[in-house]
């Protein structure tokens, strides 16, 4: 009797590019993105799905990529922080983070941006409460969220 399947081919679109790679079936999506694809902008902060530093978009929805296996993303369309400004021209949201000092160490920033971008996509003019709800799954230990909330509100204006 054959043993359990321990590796599988994952094919998906990431930041507009097609990738296809055989990976261990137990590999987390975040480690696939970081270690196998070398897209290190997506971060790991907690291992338990609390911190949101690994937030990406899967088929347009914000998802914590440490809470998914790579094989579960097979056939999907993924966007990471590297896909926000592929030509280096910062988006309105990224510029607002810079101008409002919404980041200090910058470790939570990629996940924070991806959560905020998803919010603005579905709700272009959110209230402050809606902004806070949208990023409640993203922990920042540096800023107290004050300037992050300001930046997202500014980007929505």
């Amino acid at each position: 009797m054959p043993g359990p399947v321990t590796s599988q081919v994952v094919a998906l679109e990431i930041n507009g590019e097609q990738v296809e790679l055989e990976v261990p079936t137990r590999r987390l999506l975040v480690h696939f993105i970081r270690d196998d694809l070398g897209l290190t902008g997506t971060h790991v902060g907690c291992d338990t799905g609390n911190c949101g530093a690994c937030t990406i978009h899967v088929n347009g929805e914000p998802v914590k990529s440490c809470m998914m296996l790579a094989v579960q993303a097979h056939g999907s369309k993924i966007a990471t922080v590297e896909g926000l400004a592929p030509d280096g021209e910062l988006t309105t949201l990224q510029r607002a983070f810079n101008e409002h000092h919404a980041l200090q160490c910058g470790y939570c920033t990629p996940g924070m941006l991806m959560s905020a971008a998803a919010l603005l996509e579905r709700n272009p003019s959110p209230s402050e409460e809606e902004v806070r709800v949208a990023i409640q799954g993203n922990i920042c230990r540096c800023t107290g969220y004050v300037n992050i909330v300001e930046a997202i509100k500014e980007a929505a204006r």
Partner: protein
Amino acid sequence: MSETTTAPVTTPVVVPGKTWVGDSIPRKEDKRLVQGQGVFFDDVRRHGMGYVHFVRSPYAHAAITRIDVSKAAALEGVYGTLIGEEVAALTDPFFELSVPPGAHIKDYALAVGKVRFQGEPVAAVVATTRELARDAADLVEVDYEPLTAIVDGEQALTEDAAILHEEAGSNVVWEGQFDWGDFDSALAEADKVIKIERLHFHRFSSTPLECSGCVVEYDKGTAQWTIVCNHQMPGVGAIWMGPALRCGIDKLRFVTQDIGGGFGNKICLHPYYVACCLLARKLNRPVQWTEWRSDQHMANAHGNERTFLDVVVPVKADGTMLGFSVKAIDDCGAFPRYEPLGAIIWAQVTPGCYRWENIKVDFTQVVTNKSPVSPNRGYSRMQHLWLTERIVDIVASELDLDPVEVRKKNYIRTEEMPYTTPNGCVYDSGDYARCLDQALSLVDYSGVEARRAEAESRGKLLGLGIGSTLDSGTNNFGQSQLINPDLQFSGNNEVATVKLDIFGELVVTLGTVPQGQGHETTTAQLVADLLGVTPDDVYVRPGHDSFWNSHAGFSGTYASQFAVTGLGAVKGATEMLASQIKRLAAVILGAGDPEAIELAEGHARLRDNPEVALPFMACGAIINANNAGLPAELDDVTLNCRYVFRPHFDVPDKEKKYGNLTLTYATQIHACVVEIDRETGVVEIVDYAAVDDCGNRIHPQIVEGQVHGATAQALGAALHEAFVYDEDGNLLTPNFYDYHVPHALDMPPLKTGYIESASPFTSLGTKGMGEGGGAGIHAVCAAIQNALRPVGKPVVSGSWNPYHRVWELMRDPEESRKLVSVTDL
């Protein structure tokens, strides 16, 4: 006064004569960080790299009777292992800062013979992938004989307490008496004496979002290690690691770029790094270690836990306090590491913000079977300042005095600055009463009673609390000699190198190790002003590399000092460079006197005739690549200038424990309004103001960002965050589920204000200010106590007040009131 939460932004444009210091320009660091292009240690890959996983103790205290790694080593894909016995043979124990008994403690990279806290590493496994290393670690067999766990500082001191470190013969690391002024006379002079039996400052940490780790390579030919990492104080890390690894400091090359938050929690990484160094050498391949979140909570670095016993406060009838005496028991966890420096660091702020002249402290630091501590934002002063603020509020409450008036009566006054404290520290400048007025005005103090009544009608108890703190910055490391007279540390230093390169590039190299403080930006502002260019013209290398040779023994980013030591070094180096450029230009332009040259708009030009100008690019090219025919008087001109900033300190008097321990004192006065639900004890912060005075501000937006962040950490600590252990030494809060840090919905609106009392002791009038968050803990405790006055006047005796503790205070106020007594004299 500012009520805004976002300082205005100035975009750099070239305006002749424009200066940049004081402007909130967009940070230079951000462009890479918002694009996911930062380089954190875990982003670094090396060919053939192995992943390290530590096997950790499930017990808080146990003898190790057997370790067998053979099954793990036999697994395909495992490169190798390391156990405590090998560590004991290949390294020397890390040096201890303490005198005996602490001096006798033996601390190695892995547990040797016994384990002393849950999560202590006992072995390490290296494999081809993270997953495999973890699997292999499960195959390591360790037999333990459990021992009684000591989980409380007072328990550690009892007669029959189990001893953690047999070689020390005691659970005491360090003990000492501090006695300044004349406490007995103060008692004689007092009209009343207030006694507080017990206060407790709890265990928590800033828990940076990026866990600790490193990538270590060993070069066999040169016997040198390269450690790409997130150590925030590599100068001192190397001082620990070199002797342990039996190598010179220069064999340890520390490299950092971006670091995902530090807060002091990344200072004591040397045990893990030494294990990784041994593995890289043993396996002859690069290894990388990334700490798991639960490992960080269990086994990296907590903040110091401190119990205050028998507080005695002599008070005059008018509310003037004459000082205090206290017995402090500091619990540093299983190994001292950076300790017992915490046993003296608090003395930087001995009387807090107050004119208290008679202070007696009996300080004992002990080990317990809990995670070792390390400096944590507000290190050791936060605990002590919480004590001073609790004293003020408890005294005010017991004597029915107004906490605002009591503070103003006892605050050191601005006209008394610079103020010498009873133990010889010199508070450089400040105006605490003015900061308090501003904070009170921001929370509409005059309307508080009306709001209290309105809240009451909704079943809520409203209270206002104040937190006053000082953020003492730029350590005099000579204070270490007050805990161990044989230590050879004193003063402080920091380094910067500024060069003008061949194509006119201005490049700055710092010795500091930033973790979000914006050093690249503030450095560029200062250099731009001194050389007449814009911040965009200045490239500040991100991070730290000890092979840049731009560091010194105390280099790092810690203890609120960059704006003084870091920028002091930048200023020194840039002025050296400016002088060299002028001398070169004077020769080339035939000006004779270098003072006839001015630097502006990227040129060295004649002050009297700006048309005659030499572009910086030409200066760089002449010195570096086209220097034939230069006169001998320019032989020392390199346009590559290294400056070591050293503040002027004396070694403190070891007998009297007297002397200046820090250079600057930033002020934070916070005011907090809470509402407490009578049914549940849930505390909601409904209004909050933080007023900061850090002298001259280089970049107001960065200063305000530090205030926001430090305040958020304080509010989290006061209401939610705690490292809670059960009686067997199991950590009950080892992840972000159980250890609740503030989320966006938890944070109240923060109002900020500032004043600028320039420091007379620093070259830019600046003060370090990143650690001033403790005020939030004090303010929340005070506000809760104030709110609960109508329900039996309970005493807030702990720094951690989640809803269930508040509910307990309401249910049984008398229990807490037993802690306090007032005696009329």
